[in-house]
Symmetry: C2
Subunit: 333 residues, 2 copies
């Protein structure tokens, strides 16, 4: 009897420990449905002998970046970067003071910038994102990210990341998943910070791609030069297409926040076995932003919400499901 009691106590202690471990795993998540769904999914796919068991090589999880891993309001970070770069490059381009869209940027004419067309942005991206080596470009991005701060949160953009999502990526990696970023943003832009910021290595960043050209520098050294031509727009249907180019297999889990992620979630969800598809819903104006169907940036359309409900995709309420939004401020603030 004494022995049996001890065993019961041991089992109880172990169960409490397991719960505590799971709690520790996602400390910034409230104990609401999304957290439970994540832990349930991970336990099903990692438990050998379970009908939903997935071998480690099949454990692929893909994450959108803007609005899913970091703040995308009031304007995509990469667009802010491009605008800042135009200002930096302007002294070498006196003709820009009379030529749009550069003229409006240099005049800090926010009203004009808000009306920029896709073609205007393409011109800005072309001059700021090409004509240098891949490594030089990443270095420019790193230097900008080390200084530039978000206008509202007054912290580095790399600190405007969502702590619950960082914990989720880490939890998945600890469970044998390879975590990929699949972003509509530039592949090289995101590669510049994905390692230190998200723990995602260069080869696990899928993004919109420009062409690169192999050539030789002035001392005959091989160089990869970024060209202003687009190879892939890694958004909407481009996301599963980009996933196939770089990964070559269907993700077991996919995370997004907008209509740009719809096809990636559909593609992940159409596979066999246990699947996890989640959408971050920005409904927290106080701690971050509240936007959805009517936002130009990060549109979460009513149709997407309906599809999520119909297909069992889990909508994360930032307000209700996340205990904290951002990691602690660094000493750099």
């Amino acid at each position: 009897m004494k022995q049996r009691l001890a065993a019961v106590r041991l089992v109880a202690a172990l169960s409490i420990a397991a719960v505590a471990r799971a709690q520790d795993t996602l400390p910034s998540w409230n104990d609401t449905a999304p957290k439970k769904a994540i832990i349930d999914f991970v336990e099903r796919v990692t438990k050998e002998g379970s009908p939903d068991f997935v071998k480690p090589e099949g454990r692929i999880a893909t994450f959108d970046n803007d609005g899913t891993l970091w703040v995308e309001q009031p304007i995509y970070t990469q667009v802010t970067f491009a605008i800042d770069e135009v200002v930096v490059m302007a002294p070498q381009h006196p003709e820009w003071s009379e030529r749009e869209p550069f003229k409006s940027i240099l005049a800090h004419d926010r009203a004009a910038m808000l009306k920029f067309s896709i073609q205007d942005f393409e011109k800005v991206v072309a001059v700021t994102h090409s004509g240098m080596t891949v490594e030089q470009f990443r270095e420019i991005v790193r230097k900008w990210l080390a200084e530039a701060k978000h206008p509202r949160f007054k912290r580095l953009y790399t600190e405007c990341v969502y702590q619950p999502m960082i914990e989720l990526m880490q939890y998945l990696r600890n469970s044998g998943f390879k975590t990929y970023i699949v972003t509509g943003g530039g592949q090289e832009f995101v590669r510049a910070f994905a390692g230190p910021t998200y723990g995602v290595p260069l080869e696990q960043v899928v993004g919109s791609m420009g062409k690169v050209k192999y050539t030789y520098g002035k001392d005959g050294e091989p160089e990869l030069i970024k060209l202003p031509e687009v190879l892939l727009i890694d958004d909407k249907t481009g996301k599963p297409e980009g996933i196939n180019m770089v990964i070559g297999r269907r993700p077991q889990a996919a995370f997004g926040n907008s209509t740009g992620d719809q096809q990636m979630l559909e593609y992940a969800g159409a596979g066999d076995g246990a699947r996890l598809m989640m959408l971050v819903h920005h409904d927290d104006a106080e701690r971050e932003y509240a936007y959805g169907a009517n936002s130009k940036i990060g549109t979460f359309s009513d149709a997407l919400m309906a599809e999520a409900k119909q297909k069992g995709w889990i909508v994360i309420s930032m307000k209700d499901d996340w205990k904290t939004i951002f990691p602690p401020a660094s000493t750099k603030q």
Copy 2:
């Protein structure tokens, strides 16, 4: 004294063990310069504290496929596959019996086929490599590879792989390297067999890429359909360009056998620290083939040989440096 002797004996025994381990690692390699260079390179980059130490995440090794990992003579395996597929598909295409290049293929006119232009081959690849889902295509390739045999060696193409290179890939993986295939062949063609044949997962195959299109099948299921448009020719300058798209970092080691690999080796070699660049030279007509500067397939030009010497790239003589060429025949023979 006795203690010292024991210590000396122990050290001697350990050294012998280390040598034996290295021997075991690459049993199909003769004890010539290439094997020594491989072991020396691996020891330098994996030894913590060594000036050439490379952190695990930087340990990337890239391998060409045709002529480097498997036989490419008398004709690229993928071309044989495409020709066989034309024959399989012909009943659904009665018009082919009167239309080149299909007419010559269906008439088994080898002389005409040898004169095919690039455009002819493009037509053959277009009809045999597009119009189906990525998964369907891989399945077609797998079924073909399960049956088709090499005309000279009378064994499956996946058994016409070079045993010393298989051992080298395994040795590098055991030493913390990620091994990638970087092939001029089709990315999806090679993905169909790279796992079981080379131990290389889908996401570590870089190859020539066709466009894919995300769409919905008849039951509304998401599909990635292969299109007949080319996105990347992963050969020559396309190899470092493809490496940047999929891997995003410079390989620490690169292995090839022809002018198609020149730029990949240059790119790898131009990085800092210890680097290993090797070229397989086909000089063994008896056990495999002997070809080089004058071969249309797998051209190893005099200029490439000169560059290899000048830059310290190691040329592997199949005849002198490899004990065996192929793995033991399977019971399927």
